[in-house]
Symmetry: C2
Subunit: 202 residues, 2 copies
Amino acid sequence: MDEITTRHNEKMRRIKAARDEMMKTKTEEKGLIMVHTGAGKGKSSAGFGMIMRCIAHGMPCAVVQFIKGNWETGEKTFLRERFSEECRFFVSGEGFTWETQDRERDVAAAQNGWKIAQEQILDPEIQFVLLDEINIALRYDYLDIDEVVDFLLTQKPRMTHVCLTGRNAKPELIEAADLVTEMTLLKHPFRDGVKAQKGVEF
Amino acid sequence: MDEITTRHNEKMRRIKAARDEMMKTKTEEKGLIMVHTGAGKGKSSAGFGMIMRCIAHGMPCAVVQFIKGNWETGEKTFLRERFSEECRFFVSGEGFTWETQDRERDVAAAQNGWKIAQEQILDPEIQFVLLDEINIALRYDYLDIDEVVDFLLTQKPRMTHVCLTGRNAKPELIEAADLVTEMTLLKHPFRDGVKAQKGVEF
């Protein structure tokens, strides 16, 4: 072995030892409140990546999509057509807010979505619930943030994971969450006239 | 309609008009070089969320996982067992670097992964390629960044999407990419002794 290799292997051994030691302290299992926010991409995609993992592990799960209603997304087709047993899929709204332009209808749709979300979270069968784009409904006060946070903190079964996505997550939600990731946009092709493309954005 | 609703609807109409105008300029379709980096969660999950969309749209796709080898992930099980026709799945390495502790073997594994990656990207059948955790291999110089960037910029078929994940993306890759998202950690339950859990982390 040359010197670079020897040094590298030694460094990796030290990293592994430190990591093994650290992992010994990570023993708790509990359902997490997760938030994906920020102006970057990947908030919903990462939620659906976790849904894929849940299906793989045989963990019954549910999706409630807020706002995005009549938009035909790949994830909706995929989950409804192929995994309706493993993953329940609900849509609260009737299209993006700027498509419907009717606040009363949007409020009613969001409230309906939240009612379904509560049922799914409380259902002892369900181990993971994705509340996709709920932050948009919270931002416009279609849903009451205090009610949502209170429900998550006091009613969510201990082992159930809930993932809430959408930009502009409210501070109250970030405060209540166990795990928060901000997706930050460093570069986006929309700026250069590239349109939303299937497989990538929907 | 009350005043809040009227004002809200008017505001939403203006947003929609501005958005419609903006979307008219977004006409180009092209294969994107996408990067998910940062210390936050969701880099790989968002990649697998896009793989789900590709399968839904009937777009043949491929995954090459770098570094993570003998780790039994949900995504690997899911895609190999259920979607081997729709998505080709390759693993370059034999476990995390800190598990193998052998630089020469890690280099060989990464080089092998990159060879497979190039074949998949060049394959006219394949429309989307996920190079999961390749940034780790680039960071440790198991792969040459100039070679990878040069290949992506000059050899990638115009309509093929490639998504590269992993923390510490090199500046050369960020420069070459069309779309870069940084996943930033705002809060993580590891800090409170919670371990990696199925469905969430793997």
